[in-house]
Amino acid sequence: MGEMEQLRKEAESLKDEITAARKAVQDLTLQDHVAGTAVVGRVQLKTRKTLRGHLSKIYAVHWGDSKLCVSASQDGKLIVWDSYTTNKVHAIPLKSSWVMTCAYAPSGNMVACGGLDNMCSIYNLKGKDGNVKVMRELAAHTGYLSCCRFLNDNEIITSSGDCTCVLWDIETGSQKTVFAGHLGDCMSLGVAPDFNTFISGACDFTAKLWDIRDGQCRQTFGGHESDINAIGFFPNGNAVITGSDDASCKLYDLRSDQELITYQDSGIMCGVTSLAPSLSGRLILAGYDDFNCNIWDSLKAERVGVLSGHDNRVSCIGVTPDGMACCTGSWDSFLKIWN
């Protein structure tokens, strides 16, 4: 038992070291820095389009480019939408209707989805005969698939209720790297703008930054008091934004290795389900369990707008790559495009 006790003491000592090292670089807070900056003016976005067609709760939406997006619903369908016209470009029936996530490949050639089937299914949108078919079923997770994101047409990262994330080779269907370390279900992931790292948020209340190529967890961020459901990179890749069941969002800076800001309000008591930064990062749009989406000034941590219009939980949100609009998806079965 001697070694166990020694290791426990060493772990505690290292945790204290990390806390001290973070404090040592806190020469000023972000709040001090932005004290002289004005809060942005009220942001009033209008619903420009409503995408109708799903028959059940929408769980995920992801933009492919600034016009096409893919949505996943527990009606057992993936729908690829032309958001300018509201036309359905593809309506893909799924083998398992218990879908929790979907993703569009950056190339526009493929989409992926997964959920309670514990698998990530890859669909080729550009097949020769025009039909959309399953190209690969990536199976190895022992828990539900909560999120997936393509790196390119041959690599995809998944997060799972089995507490791991995995980098897959799509061609061979094999796991290239398993990212283990979280102590609770992994709920969400985000890939860095430079594609070298990714972040994961989990039910152990922490977010982790991972090196994609060597599989190493580089940093772990705590502070949330409940499950992290949503995570995303600040546009310059130097900070991470998380959304949690504790009703708050937080911004963690990667290079100073600490939390800089919390976005919360005593009037908000329900969980954050989803989030997306605007193009400049100045606005953070976050979806909540109370059917609304709040817009935060990311530097001043004040609410500057609300998107209301859904009749049920906002489960997913995404901003187009060109920053021109955001899309919200809801358990009310509709997607709305706002700007």
Binding site: M4, L7, L30, R218, L279, R282, L285, I337
Partner: protein, 72 residues
Amino acid sequence: MSSKMQSSNNIAQARRTVQQLRVEANIERIKVSKASADLMNYCSEHAKYDPLLMGIPASENPFKDRKPCTIL
């Protein structure tokens, strides 16, 4: 699982935890003042290109329905 296997698993896990904490403790950290300044600068440099922040003229909004024109 025998209790010997279990305790050696626990030790292996504890060793991994310590190893991971060592990696995380040893990273370089920049000052919060620099991190904050860089975040602020990024926001202000890119604000003018942020449509949701600046607003979008109707004529440039691909999501706004074009109203039909009537020739009088």
